[in-house]
Amino acid sequence: LETLSSTSKMAAPMSNVDEIRDRVILGEFGVRNVHTTDYPGNYPGYDDTWDLEKFKKNFRIDIVNSDENMLEFDMIGIDAAIANAFRRILLAEVPTMAIEKVFVYNNTSIIQDEILAHRLGLVPIKADPRLFEYRNPEDQEGTEIDTIQLQLKVKCTRNPRAPKDSSDPKELYLNHMVYSGDIKWLPIGNQADVFADAKIGPVHGDILLAQLRPGQELDIVMHCVKGIGKDHAKFSPVATASYRLLPEITLLQTIEGEQAERLKRCFSPGVIEIQNVNGRKVAKVVNSRLDTCSREVLRHDDLKSLVKLGRVRDHFIFSVESTGILPADVLVTEAINVLISKCQKFLTELDAAEMD
């Protein structure tokens, strides 16, 4: 995936106006030209009014990488305000199920109740949140449509068949490590039929929750409810979701020989390539996407005037990593739906207000 402007060795310089409109400039002492300025009326000669057809023509999404839990894709032709809204919603407003109430019947381990409850809350629970409702605030018990019941019951005992004079806990004790895999699902009501084939429980079975010694035990019942990341970070469905703007490196002159070598070292590997042109080694920008924009080149006095660093303002490289509850692409779809429902909510409020 190469951007159009970095394939040419020396791109034709952008006109000043285009640069202000489309690029964020990375200078030596700061980043300039950050804010969106293309509102109608700001640039004479440009028609910047909102046009859905023009937006649809310019807008593009390219999926770069996708597996179980990780998705990398490009969103091109959209403004930062909306891309950021998607990012914020992915982090904080896509609902998931997580352990909320922990009923401790017996805890004789050295992990205090509240610490254990905190750790349990952070364990991701593999249950599709779209199949559940939010719990009513007044409801203490929880019904089958808004609660998942889980149980953790572990007792540590001495291993009768341990070799004498061994000092390895793995040999001396049984059940001395409590993992998230020990959490069992207790179906309520009709959940056993509705979720017959879905394995409801923690996403990962190898999260260490507590350590025990012989005689200590845990007997805990947990209730999971639906919530959003805004309320508590345990409800956040993403390990993280972030975006960066596509970097753009423009070489203002031909850079040859030893300077080219030094230039190559200033950028991340793979960004600049040395090519052999007429027997001379010449630097060329091959893949600016890989650059991490450290602006190292601006620290060298002889190189800093030969290069222009910037970012393409409307090209967002999104990276979404899911905790495993929902696949990453489903999370992006849900996030967009959340923004749509926010708008609809206020539209109906406006209509109701107009009625009065």
Binding site: Y39, F55, S66, I82, N84, R88, T333, I336, I340, L350
Partner: protein, 136 residues
């Protein structure tokens, strides 16, 4: 907070008298008799909707097709206090246009953008998965 003033700088002086109507999630404060200068209080919202809605309203089409003349003279939002989950969303319009009109069109435009992004994303994910199938 970010204020984007489109076109000429023209700040309305606040007139006397406030009219407060309390509506469920929405509280409207109008300056005197001018329906064009309104501060909407949006509850349970933050930069997520505030910034994107501000952008859509500022990009809005003008009904008056005239150089330098836009419906919306001022559009901005601010978070009153970080502990309170609400934003003050202010719209000032020109020529007596009711402020709820650019708000409504901004919300509609934002919905259209989201729907298009959704369709494009789903189509591209499907194409990506179809491309991966024969390889796996």
């Amino acid at each position: 907070m970010t204020h984007m003033i489109c076109g000429q700088q023209h700040i309305h002086a606040a007139s006397t008298g406030h009219v407060e109507r309390a509506i469920d999630a929405n509280m409207v404060r109008t300056d005197g008799a001018d329906e064009g200068c309104v501060t909407f209080v949006l509850h349970e919202e933050d930069h997520t909707l505030g910034n994107s809605l501000r952008y859509m309203i500022m990009k809005s089409l003008s009904r008056v097709v005239c150089f330098y003349s836009q419906d919306v003279e001022f559009c901005g939002y601010s978070i009153t206090h970080p502990s309170e989950s609400k934003i003050n969303f202010r719209i000032q319009t020109r020529d007596g246009v009711a402020a709820s009109e650019p708000l409504r069109s901004g919300l509609n435009n934002l919905t259209e953008v989201c729907k298009h992004v959704l369709h494009t994303f789903e189509a591209r994910m499907q194409a990506f998965r179809d491309k991966e199938e024969p390889m796996s």
